[in-house]
Amino acid sequence: MAVCIAVIAKENYPLYIRNVPTQNELKFHYTVHTSLDVVEEKISAVGKSLADQRELYLGLLYPTEDYKVYGYVTNSKVKFVIVVDSSNTSLRDNEIRSMFRKLHNSFTDVMCNPFHNPGDQIQSKAFDGIVSGMMMQTG
């Protein structure tokens, strides 16, 4: 399903990043990094427009030739970014939404773990499992 999943802290440094074809890691880091500007733009636009929907899910951030990049931001301003292969047209908006939902739920569990230090890299087997599950379905 997803080819790259990233979690970015409030201060815009990566907390977690995983991608499926491991040989091209740097490219995904770039893609995620670039998406942050769009995220920032969307967040600041939320307060201004009168008829804002105030949703956590930000939708499609930007499409590139090979990938589609989706974003989500929690109330604590932690960003989730999911990169999906463009060729995968079967993926609906709803499915992306539920992926983010799952990711958010799992992230909350990580944050509530007393042994985790907020602001540190995420090292959790449960979280790894959720992320792997989303990437496995690529087929």
């Binding site: 307060g47 929907q53 105030r54 931001v73 109330n75 604590s76 301003k77 509530c112």
Partner: protein, 163 residues
């Protein structure tokens, strides 16, 4: 009903344990020791608040502004933690908020008289830290202090630190 008091019991034990630990080193406690205990409890609360707000805001839409966040703290957050809402929220619209709780859960088990008034700070430190932690995770750096005039009622003053 019974599970509601668990947090209260745990909180009482936590307070007494922190104080006992500090006291075990010496015979007498001075103001510095008390401040150390309060700061230990406060930082424990900070971490709890950070985690808790992450969980509580999971299903709520994103916040419009500072006041929106404070309202969330007064209503949803307070209800989840202390099983009641804040009775009165006042603000000067410049980053200072006063949250008044007329029957603060952590103080209801203490006598209403003046006798234990100077014991109040240790029962408030954890809650102050929790509010500060919650706000910090929502992107607001703050200073939270508590004040007790008559026993079960308590005023929390939140000052948001502007950059």
């Amino acid at each position: 009903m019974t599970d509601e008091v668990l947090f209260e019991f745990l909180h009482m034990e936590m307070v007494s344990n922190v104080y006992k630990e500090q006291q075990s080193n010496k015979m007498q406690m001075d103001n510095k020791d008390r401040a150390a205990c309060v700061s230990v409890l406060e930082s424990m609360g900070f971490r709890v608040g950070q985690g808790l707000i992450e969980r509580l805001t999971r299903d709520s839409p994103s916040f419009k502004d500072e006041l929106d966040i404070m309202k969330f703290i007064c209503k949803d957050f307070w209800t989840k933690v202390f099983r009641r809402q804040i009775d009165n929220l006042r603000t000067n619209h410049q980053g200072t908020y006063v949250l008044q709780d007329n029957k603060f859960t952590m103080l209801t088990q203490l006598s209403n008289g003046k006798q234990y008034l100077d014991h109040a700070p240790k029962h408030l430190a954890f809650s102050c830290g929790m509010v500060r932690g919650a706000l910090s995770n929502l992107g607001l750096d703050s200073v939270v202090t508590a004040e007790v005039a008559v026993m079960p009622s308590c005023k929390f003053q939140v000052v948001i630190q502007k950059l």
